[in-house]
Symmetry: C2
Subunit: 409 residues, 2 copies
């Protein structure tokens, strides 16, 4: 039976047809000239999107593998790091450091709250001197709670301290502002199946000059994730081990689509769709989980109605209304619903999500006025884009017809 | 311009159209019921093909990542291992161990020669007692030289010693005899883009009971490759991090095709096509590199004609005749040509290779009687399959018409 899914989880995100088709091309030699050209072009395109002139290395591993590479290539056993965390992925970054014998002092903020620059400043003040932390671990977009941490301002604080800044931007890069060189981020990781709208299996890691200096001194064991070998291979336009060729090819096609839209327009689209999503949820009295000031452009977490288990709501959305969302992770299981608006997502996808959600609420005996969430979302979106149109510079880019993803299917 | 390639490298191997099409299906939730069913079915199918009732864990990483997992999950810092090597991949296995602070005593055999059970017995005799090696690292099919090491007999020797046996069968599994449980192999790794005929990006690792016992004591750092977390996740039909979903789906389709053919028939086909390839090469006076007694069913290495750089021959094959083969690795660069007959390969592919090779030899002013290599290959193949037909038990399976891959394109 034909039942297309509206995939609204924060990765794997929706993959456009042309990207899927690219991934199904016949295999090529990963040591031949065709792959060499692909790898060089992919690397340049990623440097553009990640706003760095330094190294971008592409790993055949998911984002967690790249997070491990960030640790293993810059730190040594017994080193101390300051690990800020506001959710499952902040916790994971610290846990990876600990697995490598790095002392990770975790500074937690409550789930749903952002890591604020003042907190980072205060904690860094405790880490002065030779025994202080060598690096700061930071999550950019905390996928588990829907919080976008203010990396720009935090990076400025970390820079003053002279410590290394390792950023997990697995789900932040490509959908929110991120200026790797300008902000002074030493290592940053992201993954193919997030904003990039490609299949999972590939992750990307940036290494700035301070990170390479740290690499020289790092004594943590590394082989598959040894970024020195990636850099040496890249000079021959190769990878040290066999790469996930089909995902690389897919990623090149998704980056082509993204370049047509333009990074600024992509960031604006995410911000506007996220806002529309929040207003739509509030219109049906669902409680948003994250601090509104730091609401994620990638994913919105909300509480189910009173006395409803989130897992039940998620199951009905899936089984009855073909809409796939995520639940809470770890200690938030059963308490949260997370709907993503990440990657190649359009206003129509959000409208479809709300039509499914309204029907699900009815199924849960929580009926709402039909269309009320959709109307709120559409009104909010119209307001956002209208404001942009009134600013002359933004006019051309904000015209919906210019959006190449609008007609993608 | 339409110029299909005859991809004759030892991985990525040719991927059938139905496998490519499977990999281009819309993405699914890696935490949902559809992926859970896929992972469970994939795991069972791999247990069948790898002849093990113990754990098969599927990693989002290439084969080198799984080799690292084999080391990091069973050994501890300061442990000693005995690393047998006859080529680039034997060397890599030892190098990974060293990167983790494991003392790897390398025992090298000349390139092109096999690691023989007597050598293993002699070397193990030096490793008795508390300070002896804890494990043996062994390459099954040495892709860089085209040698298939006699793992069955070596495993019997290693079992007597009580040491762990870690086998790199990245390019051996699925195309040659391999009885993981019966032979007593503790850890074995393979990868999607080899005999399995799926795109690269996924590797598989088996863990037997002795390996899990070693895991409990292992203190090497591991996070992304922590097999304990893979096993725990598998019990929920999940993976610890986001898996390469599209490659998993492709692998399921290629395993379906392989199950239709049957493992015994696949092994026979590889053996017969390898033999036909060797006889074809000899018919045009090209010197085979590997010891004939241990010739690989996956890949055949040969020397270029006198005074011809292998790289030049490989370039002409590629640029003029659309046939992609591999060269020598490391110190063998420029001295070897490697042609693969691995995965979904048919007699027609071998014929096509020889037609390209004959033309290339002509281009290199080494003309040969047109069709002489092809005839030798066809004659050898006919002899092999005729012998099988005369054995009643083999008759049904050896009929070419029953081979599902013959009409695959």
């Amino acid at each position: 039976m034909y039942r297309p899914q509206n995939l609204r989880i924060p990765g794997p995100t929706f993959v456009p047809q042309s990207v899927l088709a690219a991934s199904a091309r016949p295999l090529i030699n990963h040591r031949g000239p065709e792959f060499a050209a692909l790898l060089a072009a992919l690397t340049r395109a990623l440097q553009d999107f990640l706003r760095t002139e330094h190294d971008v290395l592409i790993l055949t591993a998911s984002g967690s593998g790249a997070m491990e590479a960030a640790i293993a290539n810059t730190l040594s056993s017994g080193d101390k790091v300051l690990a800020f965390s506001g959710g499952a992925f902040g916790e994971r970054f610290a846990a990876i450091a600990k697995a490598y014998g790095v002392e990770a002092r975790r500074v937690d903020v409550p789930y749903g709250r952002a890591i604020e620059p003042d907190l980072v400043r205060d904690e860094l003040a405790k880490e002065k001197g030779k025994d202080g932390a060598k690096a700061v671990l930071l999550t950019h977009n905390e996928t588990s709670t829907g919080v976008l941490n203010p990396v720009k301002d935090i990076a400025a604080v970390v820079r003053e301290s002279g410590k290394l800044l390792l950023v997990d931007s697995v789900s932040g890069a490509g959908c929110s502002e991120l200026e790797i060189d300008e902000w002074g981020i030493d290592v940053c990781v992201t993954a193919s199946q997030k904003a990039w709208g490609a299949p999972p299996g590939v992750s990307m890691i940036t290494m700035g000059p301070r990170a390479w200096k740290a690499y020289e001194k790092s004594n943590l064991p590394k082989a598959y994730f040894d970024l020195g070998s990636y850099k040496a291979s890249l000079e021959k336009a190769q990878t040290p081990a066999t790469p996930a060729v089909t995902v690389f090819i897919a990623l090149q096609e998704s980056l082509r689509l993204m370049a047509e839209e333009g990074l600024e327009a992509i960031i604006r689209r995410h911000r506007d769709l996220a806002r529309a999503t929040r207003r739509g949820l509030q219109a049906v009295n669902l409680q948003l989980f994250a601090d509104e000031r730091y609401a994620s452009p990638a994913v919105t977490a909300f509480r189910p109605p009173a006395r409803v288990d989130a897992r039940n709501l998620i199951r009905i959305l899936r089984d009855e209304h073909d809409t796939i969302v995520a639940g809470g992770q770890g200690k938030m299981e059963g308490q949260l619903v997370r709907v993503a608006h990440l990657g190649f997502v359009t206003l129509q996808d959000i409208v479809a999500f709300f039509s499914a959600l309204e029907l699900t609420l009815r199924d849960l005996n929580q009926p709402v006025e039909p269309g009320i969430a959709i109307s709120a979302a559409l009104r909010t979106y119209a307001e956002s884009t209208q404001q942009q149109s009134s600013r002359p510079a933004a006019r051309a880019a904000s015209r919906p017809a210019a959006d190449p993803v609008a007609t993608r299917r």
